[in-house]
Symmetry: C2
Subunit: 429 residues, 2 copies
C-alpha cells in the first residue's frame, strides 16, 4: 500500500486535541488500511506551549501563532477542537479560504455560523465536516447523510444532553432538582455553571444541526423553541411514574408539509419507549423516515476520547473522499419555512390543580372536546379540598390544546395555571 | 451540478429489487445532490419478465439473460438482490471479474464465500459492498468501518434476528414456544419453515459478517457456535422474569487476547439493559470499544424497503468513492486464531433440578467454589419433594463453569442435567 503522509493541524491541544493526536498515532495502521494514507499531526495551536498535556505532541508541533498553522504547506486538514465562537470562527474561515479542509467539534459554531462556513468551504473547494459537534462518538451525521440518503427522514427525536438525562434519571429515584444537580456536579456530569445544559441551550444547538442535516434546510440556534429542566419538580416526576412514564429533556425536529419545527423541552416518555432506557449520561437519537421506519443510535454523547473518535472519523472521511464529489459540504439545498408553533402536533400531558367542586371535570372535558382534543387517559386525585387532574391527550395541534387550556384556566375553580408537556410513546396516541 | 448517468443493474427484481428501483427513481434528486450523479436501473435479471411487479421497471430493462447484464457497457454497478448461494455466487464473481462493482444483500453469500469474493473484487479493482446483508437498514457496516476505524471494538453484542426476538418477547406475555411461533407466522414475522430463524442460522451468518468487519479477520458461518431457541420453555422465561431478566437470542462476538469467539445462543438479558428493550421484530447491535465505550444501533432488521434502503446507500457510497482508495473491499487484514470455546468468559445463569435433601446446596456451592466460580445470585424454590436451584454466576471462563456443573451433575440428588446460559447485564457481574 502506498503510504502518503497527510499533515494534520489541530486548533487546540486540550483534552480533545491530545486525544485526537493519540488516536492518530495509535490507530495509524488502521487509518492507513482504510485510506491508504498516514495522518500525522504537524501543527497544534495552543495558548501555552509549556503546559503539561495528556498525550504530548512531537517536538516543534505546538505553536501559539495561528498564521504558522494557516500558512504551513505541510498542513492538509485541520481539526478545530478549541471551542468557543471567537476566535474559532475566524480561524476556521481563514483556513477554509486558504484551501485547508476543516473538521470541527464545535456545535455552537456550526449552529450559529453554519451558512457562512459552508459557503466558504464550497467556494474554496474544500471540505468542512462536523460529526463531533453532535453527540460526540455517535455517528449520526454520517448515518443521516450517507446511509439514509433516500429515506425521507421526517422526524428526529433525541436525548442529546447527557447532563440533564443523568439528572432526570436521578430524580426518579427520589430527591429534588437541586440534589440531582449537586450529584451531577460531583460526578463530573455537570459544570460548575450548569446553565448551558439545564437551560436546553446545548441540546438546542445539537438539534439545530441535526435538523439542518436531516431536512436540508438551515435551522439556526435561535430558531429552536426551547425550555429547560429548571422547573421540573419531584411531583412531576412522580406523576409521570404513575402514568408509566419518565420525564426527559427531549429534542424533537419535525418536517410536516415541507415546514420545519425544532424544539427542546421536557417531555413525558413512555417507559416502554427505547428513549426511556437511555442510561445516565448517554445520548440517543431516533431517526424516523419512510424507507427505514426508525433507526436509533445510542452512545456516549460527550467526553474527550469519545469526541476525539468522531474527529478522527471525520479526518478519515475527508482524506478518503478527497477528489470526489461525495457529500462533503453544506447539507442545505433548500429553504423551508418554519412551521407556525401552534400547528405542531403531538400527544400532550396536562396537569391541573382544581378546587374539588361539582362540575369541574365536566367543564374540563367539554372545553377540550370543543377544540377537538380527545382524552387518552385521565386521572383525578383528591387532596384536602382540592384535586389534581392529570390528562394524557391524543395527538392534537398545540394551538388547540393551549386554546382549550386558556378557557379551562378562566374557571375560578382552577387554582393554578395548567401546564402541558409533550408525550413520547412507542405507538401513536 | 454536472449530472452523469450511472447505469445500475439488478440481479433479481422481487420485493427488494423493485424497491431499489423505486428508491432510485423517487430519491434521484437526493442521490444527485450527494454524489453528483444520477443512478438509473438499465438492466434487471429476472426469471419471468411477464410477472407483475410492485414498482415496474422501464421498458426493455428486464432480461432473463445474465450475459446481457454482465456484458452491457452501460452497466457500471450491480446490486445482487436475488438471494441464495447458487447461481448468485457465480454471477457476482463474474461481474466483479468483468469490472463491475457489486452491492449485495446476500448474507449467506458473504458469510460463506467472502474470502473468494473480496479477493476477486480487489484483483479487479472494483468495489464489493454488503451493508444490506446485515440487519437491513441499520448501517452497522458503514459505522464499524468508517466511524469507528480507530475505536478498537472488542465486543459486538447483537439481537440480529427479528423472528426470534418477536417470539421470545411474545412468550413473556405467556404461552408456549409453539403458540409464539404460530403468531409470528400469522403476522408474517416467521416463514412457513422457520428453521433458518429459530435454529440461529440466520443470526449466525450476520454475526460472522459483523465479527469479520469488526476484527479484520475472516470468520465464516461454520465457525460460529450456535444454539437456537427451539428448546426455550415457558418455565425458563418465567424463571428469567423472577430474576429481573428476559430471554433473548443473542449474538456475541468477542476479541480477547487477539483471539476471536463468535456465538449465537439464547441468553438472559437484564431488563435494564437496552437490548432488552428492543421491540418485537426490531434488531439492535451494540459495539463496545476503547474510544467509544459502547454505541448501539437499533432499527428494523428485515423488510423489502428497509433492505432496499441499505442497498441504495451502498450504491451511493460506491458511486461517491469511486476513484479513491477509501474502504472499499475486504475488511480482513489479519488472520486471528479462534478462542478455544472453554476460555470464553461470561456471567452465566445455571438451572438445577435437585431432590430436596440436606447438603445439596452445600455441595453445589462448594463445587463451584472449587473451580473459582463465584455466585452473584442464588434462588432455591421447593417443589413436591424436589427443588429448583437458580444461580447467576459472576463472569468466569465457560470451561470452569462446565467442569463444576459436571461434578454437580454426578451427585445422585441432581435429577436432570443442569443447563446454563450466558447473562447480559448493564454493569459487569
Amino acid at each position: 500500500m502506498a503510504s502518503v503522509d497527510v499533515g494534520i493541524a489541530l486548533l487546540g491541544y486540550g483534552t480533545v486535541g491530545s486525544a485526537v493526536n493519540r488516536l492518530l498515532v495509535e490507530g495509524g495502521d488502521e487509518i492507513e488500511r482504510a485510506t491508504g494514507h498516514r495522518l500525522r499531526v504537524v501543527r497544534a495551536l495552543v495558548r501555552d506551549p509549556a503546559k503539561q498535556r495528556g498525550f504530548g505532541a512531537a517536538d516543534g508541533v505546538l505553536t501559539t501563532d495561528f498564521a504558522a498553522v494557516r500558512d504551513d504547506p505541510e498542513v492538509d486538514v485541520v481539526a478545530e477542537v478549541m471551542g468557543g465562537l471567537d476566535p474559532a470562527g475566524e480561524y476556521v474561515l481563514e483556513l477554509l479560504r486558504a484551501g485547508k479542509s476543516v473538521v470541527t467539534a464545535n456545535k455552537q459554531l456550526v449552529a450559529r455560523r453554519g451558512a457562512e462556513l459552508f459557503a466558504t468551504a464550497s467556494a474554496a473547494g474544500v471540505q468542512l465536516r462536523f460529526e463531533a459537534s453532535v453527540c460526540a462518538a455517535i455517528p449520526v451525521v454520517k448515518v443521516l447523510r450517507e446511509s439514509l440518503v433516500v429515506s425521507n427522514v421526517h422526524r428526529v427525536i433525541g436525548i442529546v444532553n447527557g447532563t440533564t438525562n443523568f439528572m432526570l434519571s436521578r430524580m426518579e429515584r427520589g430527591g429534588s432538582y437541586e440534589e440531582a444537580l449537586e450529584e451531577a456536579q460531583r460526578l463530573g456530569y455537570a459544570e460548575a455553571d450548569p446553565t448551558d445544559d439545564v437551560s436546553g441551550a446545548d441540546a438546542a444547538a445539537k438539534m439545530a444541526i441535526l435538523a439542518t442535516v436531516a431536512y436540508g434546510s438551515r435551522v439556526t440556534l435561535d430558531e429552536v423553541e426551547r425550555q429547560g429542566i429548571e422547573e421540573v419538580e419531584p411531583s412531576l416526576v412522580s406523576a409521570a411514574a404513575d402514568l408509566g412514564m419518565v420525564v426527559r429533556l427531549v429534542g424533537i425536529a419535525t418536517l410536516a408539509d415541507d415546514k420545519v419545527d425544532v424544539r427542546v423541552q421536557p417531555a413525558l416518555v413512555d417507559k416502554a419507549h427505547s428513549l426511556a432506557a437511555v442510561d445516565g449520561a448517554f445520548n440517543a437519537v431516533m431517526l424516523q423516515g419512510d424507507a427505514i421506519r426508525e433507526i436509533t443510535l445510542e452512545g456516549p454523547g460527550a467526553g474527550g476520547i469519545e469526541t476525539a473518535s468522531a474527529v478522527v472519523a471525520d479526518l478519515v472521511s475527508v482524506v478518503g473522499t478527497t477528489g470526489t464529489g461525495f457529500l462533503q459540504n453544506d447539507a442545505c439545498w433548500r429553504e423551508l419555512e418554519r412551521l407556525p408553533p401552534g400547528e405542531w402536533r403531538s400527544p400532550f400531558y396536562v396537569h391541573l390543580d382544581v378546587a374539588d367542586r361539582p362540575g369541574v371535570l365536566a367543564h374540563v372535558t367539554s372545553r377540550l372536546a370543543a377544540h377537538d382534543v380527545s382524552v387518552a387517559q385521565l386521572v383525578q386525585r383528591l387532596g384536602d379540598g382540592d384535586a389534581r387532574i392529570e390528562l394524557v391527550l391524543h395527538e392534537a395541534p398545540l394551538q388547540s390544546v393551549t386554546a382549550a387550556l386558556a378557557e379551562i384556566a378562566a374557571l375560578p375553580e382552577v387554582l393554578r395555571i395548567p401546564f402541558l408537556l409533550p408525550v413520547i410513546t412507542e405507538r401513536p396516541l
